[in-house]
């Protein structure tokens, strides 16, 4: 079985600091892997390396069996970056933001095709946002903006979804509906790699947990309950105070 991602002996350094040290990691088709670790443990760095956004200093990365420099089929990967808001400088509707995630699969010039419109509609339906397609993203709630960004990742009809801390700052009720959505996407055959502080509501979905500690993999196996306990991270903005979204950083309005 060819893994979706296969990272071997990966080292990444920023100046003198090593963000990742000799990391071995793989994600098999259909797996649901959660990547855990404290702030600064290298989770986001590793995810960006998998997406080809940060170069490896040492080691090797294969994506769907192809060495990274030769990999071209980016539509197979849907990426949801760590982001507090979907708002930008100029208003954009949910449809337009999701359509941007379709580019790996569509032609780059001219208006979008019917296929593109259908894929965007499906993606918005998957995250239960089909009725909000014309809404400007800046006016949506934090949880809704997050779902738009997930829909954007789904618009390219990917085989693997990579999500960087998608639930931080979303209230518990939305975390649960979000987990249900992810579970459904995984059941349909997509692999999922999710970065999180703690297992939390996604625990029942996870097939494997990988723990990074100061740039090294210190655990790779079944999602043990201890992981849940030892890595619970009390977010400063809890359910009662969803601050990151009521005051979107860099919002336009």
């Amino acid at each position: 079985m060819t893994p979706d991602f296969h990272l071997s002996g990966a080292t990444i350094s920023f100046g003198a600091t090593e963000a990742l040290r000799n990391v071995h990691f793989h994600l098999n088709p259909g797996e649901f892997v959660v990547l855990l670790g404290a702030n600064g443990s290298g989770k986001t760095t590793m995810v960006k390396a998998l997406l080809g956004l940060i170069p490896l200093r040492k080691g090797r990365l294969d994506v769907f069996g192809t060495p990274l420099p030769k990999f071209k089929d980016w539509g197979r990967i849907g990426y949801v970056p760590q982001r507090a808001t979907a708002a930008s400088g100029v208003p954009a509707s949910a449809f337009e933001v999701v359509l941007a995630g379709r580019l790996a699969r569509s032609r780059k010039w001219g208006p979008h095709s019917k296929d593109d419109a259908r894929a965007v509609k499906n993606a918005l339906e998957l995250v239960d946002m089909a009725d909000k397609d014309k809404e400007p993203v800046a006016t949506l709630s934090g949880g809704q903006q997050q779902r738009v960004l997930i829909a954007r990742a789904l618009a390219g009809e990917p085989d693997v979804l990579v999500l960087d801390e998608p639930v931080s700052g979303i209230d518990l009720e939305h975390q649960e509906s979000f987990a249900a959505t992810l579970g459904e996407l995984n059941r349909q055959g997509r692999s999922v790699l999710l970065v999180a502080h703690a297992l939390g509501v996604i625990e029942p979905l996870v097939s494997r947990a990988v723990v990074l500690t100061q740039g090294e993999v210190t655990y790779d196996g079944k999602p043990l309950h201890e992981l849940h306990d030892s890595h619970v991270h009390h977010h400063p903005h809890s359910v009662e105070d969803p601050l990151p979204f009521s005051n979107p950083a860099g919002g336009s309005h």
Partner: protein, 284 residues
């Protein structure tokens, strides 16, 4: 050529206003309209990337280019566009490397551009009047070659902005995700920078170096207060750009003021009206 001249004359004959009969006004109106539609089409991507002042940075470098043109005794417009392109690429590359923050990179280019321009102007012994026409525009003296240049550049820039709108939107909206979709983000950013530079080059003739950025940014800033999507902002900005340009030129005819100033003031009026309207709508 004669047919074109007939169409041109026939068009102006249908215009009921006195100013339409003056050749300098006809050329001014056409040049301003072209710039009015083109500038926001590229400015919208700068606004979206929160690089609203990039047009200013490019304009300041264009000033060095104008001065170099005087010093080398060649067409200042050509050297201005060359300098603008180099400046735009420099800003983009500094920003991309991330070692210099976007605004610091702009600051370096701003002051470097003006200082180098002033230095070269001094060396070439250019008269102050000549300098002023570049700083504040010289719309009433545009000639046929200027209009053809503006037309050519408008077609190219509007073509780029319209044909590549989806992918340019994706890149300006979220560079990282665009890169992770296999889009050549750097090429597109450089393309926008170059398109912005040549737009600044022609816009400079109309409103002047100091007001160039206003044409790129103000129509977008006005319209985006009222719109709900990128597409409607794009279309609306082009329309507002066209209206304020024509209105500005007409106003300048009646109040006898520099058209660059009246065009940008008209854009400011549009911005204020849009703000008031947006507030009123929010209350109701």
């Amino acid at each position: 050529m004669e047919i074109l001249a007939n169409i041109w004359n026939g068009f102006w004959d249908t215009c009921p206003f006195e100013f339409c009969q003056w050749a300098f006004m006809q050329k001014a109106l056409v040049a301003a309209a072209l710039v009015g539609v083109t500038a926001p089409a590229i400015g919208i991507f700068l606004v979206q990337r929160r690089l609203s002042l990039m047009g200013d940075g490019i304009g300041h470098v264009a000033f060095t280019g104008v001065a170099a043109g005087f010093l080398l005794d060649t067409l200042p417009l050509v050297t201005a566009i060359v300098a603008a392109i180099l400046g735009a690429l420099a800003i983009e590359l500094m920003r991309e490397r991330g070692r210099t923050e976007g605004d610091v990179a702009l600051a370096v280019v701003f002051y470097g551009g003006i200082a180098a321009g002033a230095l070269l102007m001094g060396l070439s012994g250019t008269s102050n009047t000549n300098i002023l026409t570049y700083l504040f525009g010289a719309l009433l003296s545009v000639n046929r070659a200027d209009i053809l240049a503006a037309l050519g550049i408008s077609v190219v820039v509007l073509g780029i902005a319209m044909l590549l709108r989806r992918v340019l939107f994706a890149v300006s909206y979220d560079e990282e995700v665009a890169r992770a979709s296999g889009i050549s983000v750097r090429t597109l950013n450089l393309l926008v920078a170059v398109a912005a530079a040549i737009t600044v080059g022609v816009t400079m003739r109309v409103v002047g170096i100091l007001l160039v950025s206003g044409m790129l940014v103000l129509p977008v800033a006005a319209v985006q207060q009222l719109t709900r999507s990128f597409n409607s902002t794009f279309v609306g900005s082009l329309a507002v750009g066209l209206v304020v340009s024509v209105a500005g030129v007409v106003t300048s005819y009646y109040v006898d003021a520099p058209p660059g100033a009246t065009i940008v003031m008209a854009a400011i009026v549009a911005f204020v009206l849009a703000s008031v309207f947006a507030r009123a709508r929010a209350v109701v």
